[in-house]
């Protein structure tokens, strides 16, 4: 597969105006409706192996997402991005805009930057949704100036429909992985590739893949497990998971299910649309008001999917995830589900042997238990 920078270079050469978005859940539809091609800057770890620029600005205890994003923006941003967008997704990300801006300015390579504050209090409170409305209106004004286009309700509606199509197809693809029709590693790869191609191209790929794999018979099902974290584990670990007889039947990954599980009603009104999207979003550690529903949602998924093992794919230094792991762990272990905690740091992506060994041991234990319980059932 092409590297992330090469994919963006291709998009640019096809005439796309690229807006690099900080993770996790930027208002893609709005940006798209202005003729911009939003690309979410996460999952860059495999392409960004040196942090020469970023290390001049961020201490090594920033998470890998922030460090690789910074490296990319500082080293290739001017060449590949026409603008940057960020919102208050997390404390680390909120610290970055001026760092990147001032460094780019110093090198005469400034890139226009757009910011949004999404209320971190329930949007059911009228003042919070009014505030979001106001911020979105301001953002629209800034985008109008930047693109020289006026906001069009019809175009926005079209964009919301397209993104909903992408979400639906993403869910369909994920279901194919759950039934073993497609490997989870391949499914995840296709879903993540959304960040490196145009929306239309991604929708086409999803349609093609879903069509192709829908016709296949359900694959062999290993021990059923669920993954949770910000990003899926590196491909080598996904391979190890499948090789050792585990099947990923559900996930609570921010770059995957958390991103597309909720389908907001298509709308011509950005205020109403984003109120709905952010209020009812699939729970995430970074969407602070979703804390209560997050545990319930995970529990429900664990039960409905018949999960026997649960792997936390911790993003090293992501405190949002780490604050919640003990509670989630306690809750699912109480259900008799086994858990494994992995922690992926910036340097670990290249050295995964130890993790593979732990996955093997985890799989062995789960498979052993499953065989044991099957024997018990047979005896009964």
């Amino acid at each position: 597969m092409q590297s992330f920078p090469d994919s963006l270079a291709d998009l640019k050469s096809q005439g796309h105006t690229l807006i690099g978005c900080f993770p996790l859940y930027p208002p893609l539809e709005l940006l798209h409706s202005f003729g911009l091609s939003p690309v979410v800057l996460w999952g860059l770890r495999q392409d960004i192996t040196h942090l020469t620029r970023s290390d001049r600005h961020l201490q090594p205890y920033a998470c890998g997402v922030a460090r690789s994003l910074s490296e990319f923006v500082l080293s290739r941003g001017r060449e590949l991005l026409d603008a940057i967008f960020m919102y208050n997704a997390c404390d680390t990300l909120r610290n970055l805009p001026e760092i990147l801006e001032s460094s780019l300015d110093r090198h005469g390579a400034s890139i226009p930057l757009f910011r949004l504050h999404i209320p971190a209090v329930p949007l059911s409170r009228p003042f919070a949704s009014d505030y979001l409305n106001e911020r979105i209106r301001d953002l629209i004004g800034e985008l109008e100036k930047f693109t020289g286009r006026s906001f069009s309700a019809q175009t926005f509606l079209n964009s919301t429909e397209l993104y909903n199509r992408q979400r639906r197809l993403s869910r369909d693809l994920e279901r194919l992985a759950e039934t073993g029709r497609i490997r989870f590693a391949d499914c995840s790869d296709i879903l993540l590739s959304a960040g490196r191609m145009s929306l239309d191209d991604h929708i086409s790929i999803l349609e093609r893949t879903v069509r192709e794999f829908n016709g296949r018979a359900p694959g062999h099902q290993g021990v059923r497990i669920m993954l949770s974290g910000i990003l899926p584990p590196p491909v080598a670990l996904l391979d190890a998971i499948e090789r050792t007889g585990l099947t990923v039947v559900a996930n609570d990954i921010a770059a995957l299910r958390r991103s597309y599980d909720y389908l907001p009603a298509a709308s011509a009104d950005p205020g109403a649309y984003y109120r709905d999207l952010y209020r009812n979003h699939y729970p995430c550690t970074t969407i602070l008001p979703s804390a209560d529903s997050r545990l319930e949602t995970i529990m429900q998924t664990v039960r409905e999917s018949g999960v026997q093992g649960f792997i936390f794919v911790g993003e090293k230094f992501c405190e949002y995830e780490y604050f919640e792991i003990p509670a989630v762990k306690r809750m699912i272990e109480a259900e008799g589900v086994r858990t494994l905690e992995l922690e992926i740091g910036m340097d670990d992506a290249l050295n995964l042997d130890a993790y593979q060994t732990r996955i093997e041991a985890f799989a062995e234990m789960l498979c052993h238990e499953t065989r044991g319980s099957r024997r018990d059932n047979d005896a009964v």
Binding site: L58, Y61, H117, A291, E319, E324
Partner: protein, 417 residues
Amino acid sequence: MMPSEKTQGAFKKNTSGKRLSTMIMNDYLDLHRRASEGAFVVWIAIIVPAELFGGFENVVYAVPESHAALCAGKGTGPVLCEKAEGFGYSTDLCSYARIDIGTAFDGGRDSPTFGLPRPDLLISNTNNCSLLVKWFDVYHRAWGVPHLALDIPFCYENQKERDFRYIMDQFGTLISTIEEMSGQRFDLDRARESVQLSSEAFKEWKRFLSFAAHRPSGITAFDSFVQMAPILTSRGTRRLVDHYRLLADETAEQVKNGIFPVPDERYRLLWDNIAPWHQLRKMSGRLAGLGANITSASYTYCIGALEGEYDPYEFDGNDPLAWLARLQNFSVCPHGLNLRGKAMNEVIGRNAIDGVVFASNRSCKVYSLMQMDQMRYIREELGIPCVMIDVDHADVRKYSEETAFTRLEALLEMIGA
């Protein structure tokens, strides 16, 4: 002995230090007593405007961050952190949170204040860091206590009208929530009185800090770290104003009498980050031996000021909620690079700072993940030598004194060169 030759020891024997210990002890005793007598107990993040509780008849508040700092200062930080780690909380989480979780889930054991009384309501705030919301959620889940978060937009520039209105609306929710839960009525006049007292206290606080401009400095930043504690336990009270007035008066008297914390002060430094609670005595003593005084700290000079400013933001006697909303951005963490640089520049000028110590603190990413650029700005634009040392504010296990001092000594050499 001439007054100007007086020692650091003589400086320390002032009455404000003793009064401070008594005040903090009484504050915690009072908190436990009132809680046990039925007061409505809230746990708050540092930035939550505690003056609002003065508007209620019988609401008491506890500040877990402040309690964690106290534990770290008294040396129980590591044991409490280890307990939290034993409960599954990662060592990479903020050490305040780990200390507090370790205390709360072990019934207050190993805490110098026997922990904090169980809350009726948790109130966090996103502006120092939104991790506080995650941290308070831990208790919300464990104990089923309601949790209300205040969301304060980060300031890349001065507070905007829309943000101000948003904050005011949230104060409305906060007040009505407490009214509903506690059955008490909020009295705006009482809150106004609290705000008036806080505003006066901040003025006295800044008067105390102003002695850092004297040469040699009348204070050390370590004094300010220790003395800031009652802002978190007695906010909006007459005793806080009195304490800071006496503190500033006593400091003035000492300066007049030529009593200085580092009499042979040769290097005047500024500290950027949270106080190294486990090192206050050691670090200040060892620096004094080198003729160096950390006279100022962004952690304490920001108190009572608007974003990017130094002087206190005074209450005009009108709407207390408006004053509190406008001042919601006072601490450094929610400030962008430009605002941080602006305030630091001001203090460097006022206090004739020779060098800046950036304490890179992996426990507090919000404070730290801007320092490399801020350091570049101070060094390159202002021509002030800087150094970065690694310090965890409350977990001594993540601090190496010798490594830190190798760098601090290099800074002093740089200044001397």
